[in-house]
Amino acid sequence: MNDSATQAAIESVARNSYGRLIAYLAARAGNVADVEDTLGDAFAEALKRWPTDGIPEKPEAWLLRVARNRMIDAARHHQVHEKSEEYLQQITEEAQTVATTHDQFPDERLKLLFVCAHPAIDPAARTPLMLQTVLHVDAARIASAFLVSPAAMSQRLVRAKSKIRDARIPFRVPDPPEWDERVSFVLDAIYSAYTTGWDSLAETSSTHHALAGDAITLGRTLVQLMPGEPEAHGLLALMLHCEARRDARYASNGEYIPLDQQETGLWSHRMIDEAEALLRKAATFRSLGRYQLEAAIQSIHAHRAVTGDIDWPEILLLYEGLVRLAPGIGSLVGRAVALAQAGQPAAALAALEEIPDERIADYQPYWASRGHLLRMLGRTAEAEKAFTRAASLTDDPALRAYLFKQPRG
């Protein structure tokens, strides 16, 4: 193995193990912040030693052993109270067991995900906390993706971690009465990472693209940790359907291309196939949810690659279901568009106009959809106004250019 291959292998082990190790230690300590520091040291040690010593057979046990030693050093140094010594003792013994037996290293990441998306955690901190703890995404990169200063993001994360420790948010998998709601918080936080990576400028795509990839990794982890939860499958299917179209969203000259005009040959059929398989799997649980419906809508768009057509009546049906389950502005606007495409533009416009004013003021898709519907109805002057409003609400230059040229098109 050459140096860069060793480096890549280490990074892969580190990336795969970090979340599991931090979850394992944090679940026992009830504390994310302290174990993060210790693990950071352990990984630094690995980067120093593995290139010469080789990657250990049980990398997680190796890292855990180093982390444990660091913790004991820190405990001696700070003279922490008895309780901590007790848990250090416990971790020491468990680390020994992990190192000497062939047991699978315990995976506590689901508990960690539930802690990150706990209702007692600031919603704005949930997604960054997941990215940082489960995937070990660099805090500065998280800050740049969420368009806040590194200092502000760091403060948000520190505050959330202090809350976990000081208010003692438990590391547990919730029971059925609260299961659905708690799962939805986890799903929403992961999806928020994806949409943050998706909705942003094409030019700055390196950071954002990485974030969308991180969201998909979290989605895969969740499916692995909750194999019986249909919505976890639905969420991953939704993200994969959207991700499959990444290369088709802009022409080579940077021009924005709307979904129904994208070159289907540019879609990733590997991702589409995976998304379809996930949706079929989700359907076997016979428990419909928001993410399955959204993924099903995307699945019909994806089907255009096969049939050349978009089945708008079917999309409308799915939006009807979605509006009942999750009457967010996105689903209301989506339903109106489907209604228009299914041949009822006047009813669609009426549906758009029922959405309360305070929800549409800064919602770009509402104004773009309104423009399309007005144009279908031959109300060109009003359509132009709506497109102009939409154009003023996007931060994507390609989309802005596309929206500005609409009324004249």
């Binding site: 309780k83 003692r168 948010i169």
Partner: protein
């Protein structure tokens, strides 16, 4: 781990005549806390107009009548419970009949982080 469940109520809640059904529910809640062995202590507070504020500034004692004028919600009562973690404390907060109209603030007590 000990948590304070602080009941914040708007002025109107204090102005209304005491609702016997609510009082009975509150009593039952106290009994449930006691029966579960989680109750440390609890108390209801008289209305905000009975409040007097005391500060010492520059060594001088200052006494003021009434709560701060800008306050919209007032502490109506508190319960201190001893439970394993925040989820358990949140469950008890949600069971408080006052939660239907007031806001229950759940705050861990100092000095019990390792307990």
């Amino acid at each position: 781990m000990k948590y304070a469940l602080l009941v914040h109520q708007p002025q109107e809640a204090f102005d209304k005549p005491r609702d016997p059904a609510l009082a009975a529910a509150g009593k039952a809640y106290g009994e449930a806390l006691h029966a579960a062995g989680v109750l440390v202590t609890g108390a209801g507070l008289q209305p905000p107009h009975t409040t007097t504020l005391v500060t010492i500034r520059d060594g001088k004692r200052q006494v003021h009548d009434g709560p701060y004028a800008e306050t919209k919600e007032f502490l109506g009562g508190l319960v201190i419970i001893d439970v394993p973690d925040l989820d358990a404390a949140l469950d008890w907060a949600a069971r408080n009949p006052a939660a239907a109209s007031a806001t229950i603030e759940v705050r861990p007590l100092i000095g019990y982080a390792g307990a």
